[in-house]
Symmetry: C3
Subunit: 206 residues, 3 copies
């Protein structure tokens, strides 16, 4: 099941990169570059950190999926990606965020990484592709916005690492963790939730 989900997840993440390039009126080459960067960025950093072979380098289909996404965005009518479908993509991305956070944490735990760094690998898998995309694009990174994005990834990763350490069954832990991440990110999309900033908390203290 995970094997079937994986191309879909990569495609959704790559799509967010390609659409950013479209919004910034970039060329096709830039669009392809961003699709690859966003699609594989988080997992790449995770694999380098835990010392695993980088997943898409020794896998023949991952990079082509990203290129096909870029080609699709380039040649399709712009209205496909506007209005209602923006919302669909955002929800697909929320599902991917939960799934990747769990996948990243589980892979790190399987390689013998300690729980706290393993949970960080989940956050990295879910979020770092988007951070690199934003830094290269020269716009404020998602990590610098109050929007709840990293937090759902952290929640899913923490539940996954905690549940595994507690010895619960993998299937149960993974499902609950991914759903929790997806749910929190979905709530943030629906109610436009954000975290309080440093100043606000201090103001409240007074």
């Amino acid at each position: 099941m995970i094997a079937a989900l994986d191309p879909v997840g990569i495609a959704v993440t790559a799509l967010s990169g390609a659409l950013l390039a479209a919004r910034m009126r970039q060329t096709f080459v830039t669009m392809a570059f961003f699709a690859v960067l966003t699609g594989v960025g988080g997992g790449t950093v995770r694999d380098l950190l835990i010392g695993a072979p980088v997943f898409w380098v020794h896998n023949a289909w991952t990079a082509p999926v990203c290129l096909v996404v870029a080609l699709t965005v380039w040649f399709s009518p712009a209205r496909w990606w506007q209005g209602e479908s923006t919302r669909v993509i955002e929800w697909a991305d929320a599902a991917g965020l939960g799934a990747y956070a769990v996948l990243g944490t589980a892979k790190a735990l399987a390689l013998g990484v300690a729980p706290v760094p393993a949970a960080m690998m989940g956050v990295i898998t879910g979020c770092v592709g988007g951070v690199i995309r934003d830094v290269v694009a020269g716009r404020p990174s998602i990590i610098m916005r109050p929007e709840l994005y990293v937090t759902p990834a952290a929640l899913a990763s923490a539940i996954c690492a905690g549940g595994t350490v507690a010895g619960l069954s993998n299937m149960a832990v993974w499902s609950v963790a991914a759903l929790a991440g997806f749910g929190l990110r979905g709530a943030a999309i629906h109610w436009q939730l954000g975290l309080p900033a440093y100043g606000h908390v201090k103001d409240g203290d007074r």
Copy 2:
């Protein structure tokens, strides 16, 4: 032959980093940092991704070459690097772009990487040093400009990967690929070619 070309290629790439630091009126330390970053950046990312030992870390001369380039720029008269020589440097960089794209692709293929990711390693070797340099310098990265720069690297890498998969002789494939990359980049310099941006294509569709 490749062994003899290599220090020259590194020096040309390092030079582009050092000259950017000079144009931005930076200090010598920043200039040295940029020379190293630009000179070895692309090959470093490639080696990390394909799991090879990072080429300049276990090689005693690569890093000193970058430092010598920075020292040369710092102590030489500024006019050495202006006017006519800008053009010479640009053409040397074009030759390096083609050669590095082929070198990166061939190294990845030799390590058993599949053709599409291997071609991407060629693009990374040729371009990522410049992208990192621009991101650290806080200026719009070369990947965000319509200028034909990544495209020649992609062309050379694709020909190299395609020809190797087709079983053609290495020497023929490498030469054709490097020349095609150099030729396209040269044409872009000479006629100031650029790729169409996303909006333009859509406007034309109407």
Copy 3:
């Protein structure tokens, strides 16, 4: 002794990341992300480059130390980190800079890296965490400022590499190198020393 210093060093570096997030009025999640990024960034890049296992991934306490630092900054009164204590933190950071430059160089030399690239690993260990932090935060990186920051790390690293190549005793070389780096950074803090920029030197030439 080094084992005892290490958590302190990580904490001081992580603190600089957490405090930047506080000054930028970010959320707690961003603060934690910055504490980790700054605390482990330089050592991570060094370990990837020299092919060593990334130090904090296979170590259960390093990541938690960074998180505790972020929690401390978040829940403590803002005045703890202002006025006089800014100075204390800056001096602690100077001590860490010297120590990390030596640690990075020595680790690379121990793994058989040649002297010049090994000295660069020292600079990377001391400075790259801060560079990544600044790039992700979208502000001018420390490498782009004339302030003497990279230079003390380069001095400590060069002494460490040079002394080791000359066959001097490790303890003597390490102490002198770390003290030289700390001293130069301290002098820069005290007298606000900076390096001359490229333009100034050229103006002086005329």
